[in-house]
């Protein structure tokens, strides 16, 4: 398919961002503590860190699903107040709607915003992009984990998001599918040029895919260090530079 859709991208900026959860007994827990960062348009950022360091909270704040306790996040200079289709989100589990076939799942964003036109072939384009051509009529339970996650990617991409938020998108996949999907996502990123923000547990994955890596540590939850990955793509996982970066990140995470 030669058709090409307009590429959208945007920059993100967080100012003194904090999120404090109050539990039932009334005690407070800082999920995020005074976070500051700037992300340029079209960058691929990974967030790594141990469980409970607020990675997912950060993503939910950017998506607009939660509101920060203090501070703000800006997309292209506009403060984020609620959810919006220009910020797409993909969960670890695909969360496809089981009562819709794959075509309708992917078309959801367009139909929900009443901008769907069958003749635009937009759904077909994105199904093709993620390699799910021919599965339009299938239902989610017919798909394997990797295929379902591709469909979830297509569903998020259909709205031409400026920012794509990925919450451990490959966490539930087996090792082979995972490596495959890493290349898929890079391919999609190069095609769409959107700003990518990916949460992951896997340091290898983060180095393989990202331009920069935010290393987060818990108690208090904050971004301890930002590691720049200046390696040529496609990256070689057992090269010396790669392993050096990995050792560096692991040493930061272990304090």
């Amino acid at each position: 398919m030669v058709e090409q859709y307009a590429q959208h991208t945007g920059s993100l900026k967080a100012n003194r961002l904090s999120k404090i959860f109050t539990n039932v007994e009334g005690s407070e827990m800082a999920a995020l503590n005074n976070i500051n960062f700037e992300i340029k348009s079209g960058e691929f950022i990974s967030i790594v860190g141990p469980s409970g360091c607020g990675k997912t909270t950060l993503l939910r704040l950017i998506a607009g699903l939660d509101k920060p306790t203090s501070g703000s996040i800006e997309l292209d200079g506009d403060k984020i107040c609620s959810t919006g289709y220009e910020r797409g989100l993909v969960f670890q589990n695909p969360k496809l709607y089981p009562w819709m076939n794959i075509y309708d799942n992917v078309a959801f964003g367009l139909k929900a915003r009443s901008v769907y036109k069958k003749s635009d072939n937009e759904v077909d384009y994105f199904l093709n992009l993620v390699g799910l051509k021919g599965f339009e009529k299938s239902y989610p339970h017919h798909l394997s984990g990797g295929m379902a996650q591709r469909a979830a990617l297509a569903r998020a991409l259909i709205n031409h998001p400026k920012v794509l938020l990925l919450d451990e998108p490959l966490g539930a996949l087996d090792a082979f599918t995972r490596v495959n999907m890493q290349d898929e996502i890079i391919k999609i990123w190069k095609n769409r040029k959107a700003t990518m923000l990916m949460v992951t547990h896997d340091v290898d994955e983060a180095i393989y895919m990202s331009d920069r890596i935010f290393v987060m540590t818990p108690r208090p939850a904050k971004i301890t260090q930002i590691v720049k990955v200046d390696l040529e793509r496609p990256r070689i996982r057992d090269s010396k530079d790669f392993i050096d970066i990995k050792d560096n990140i692991l040493s930061i995470m272990e304090f």
């Binding site: 998506a63 289709y85 009562w99 915003r113």
Partner: protein
Amino acid sequence: MEKNKFDWHMAMPLIAAAVTLALHKVIPKNSDILTRDYNWLSILLTSLIIIFLAVIIISFLNPVLRRKYIYKSKFITGEITALCIYNLITLKFNLIPPVYFPYPDRILNVFFEEIDLLATCLLYSLRLLFTGVFFGGIVGVVTGILVGWSEKASYWVAPLVKFIGPIPATVWIPIALVVFPTSYAASAFIVALSMWFPTALMTSSGIQNLEKSYFEVSKTLGAPSYYQVLKIAIPGALPSIFTVFFNGITSSFLTLMTAEMIGVKYGIGWYVNWQREVMAFSNVYAGLIVIGIMCSLVLGIMFKIRDKLLTWQKGVIKW
């Protein structure tokens, strides 16, 4: 070749019907039974024999029918055997009180003598049932969506639903009779009420039990609230809604029978009640058989609709 082999299962219903007919013809009726003789059981059994013969012949050409028939043959044989035994202990040997347990011919006779009245009653009941189930179901689903979706509605309406719901619908009969202009409307209201509560409760819990992330995904995709209700809340709650429809319709049958005693002109519940009062038990049994057939037909249609609407569930949930 295997599929054309004769399976002795296929002959079982035929043999059972033939034996029943032979016993019915050979054994004389008990001398204490003085009611006149009918031919209905003989006719019924003869037609069954003809049908079974036809099915056996066709099933040699139609493997699907053949498989179904072989599967069902034991059940059919059992039913005919039960009929045969009942006929023997009532008509032939008079072992149980004939007033309360009329022999098969007398029950069959009701169907032929009172077919018009039974049909009228059936239509009246179905009309009442459908009016009640339809309005009760719709209002129930709407209430359920409101409570399940909107926090405000949940705050104001949910306690009311929980308070009114558990009160048996039939308790409202005196009030309904005063409020509604006709006894038909009052009965329909009672049936609707017994449908409304379980439907509302299960719809709202069906929505509330849906994974939150389904709604979160839809928000990040830019879906407005009404769209989330239409495309996520309702289809997601549909399995629960169908489950409660089955229960609701069954409990509506029950309410229907009571509701028909409050002065509607016809209806199968009214018929059964009236026949019971005049001790015409063969008519009572005929009425009960009609109720049974009506219930299973209505539920059968509901199952078909569900299978159509919930194809996506196959493979997700075991039925």
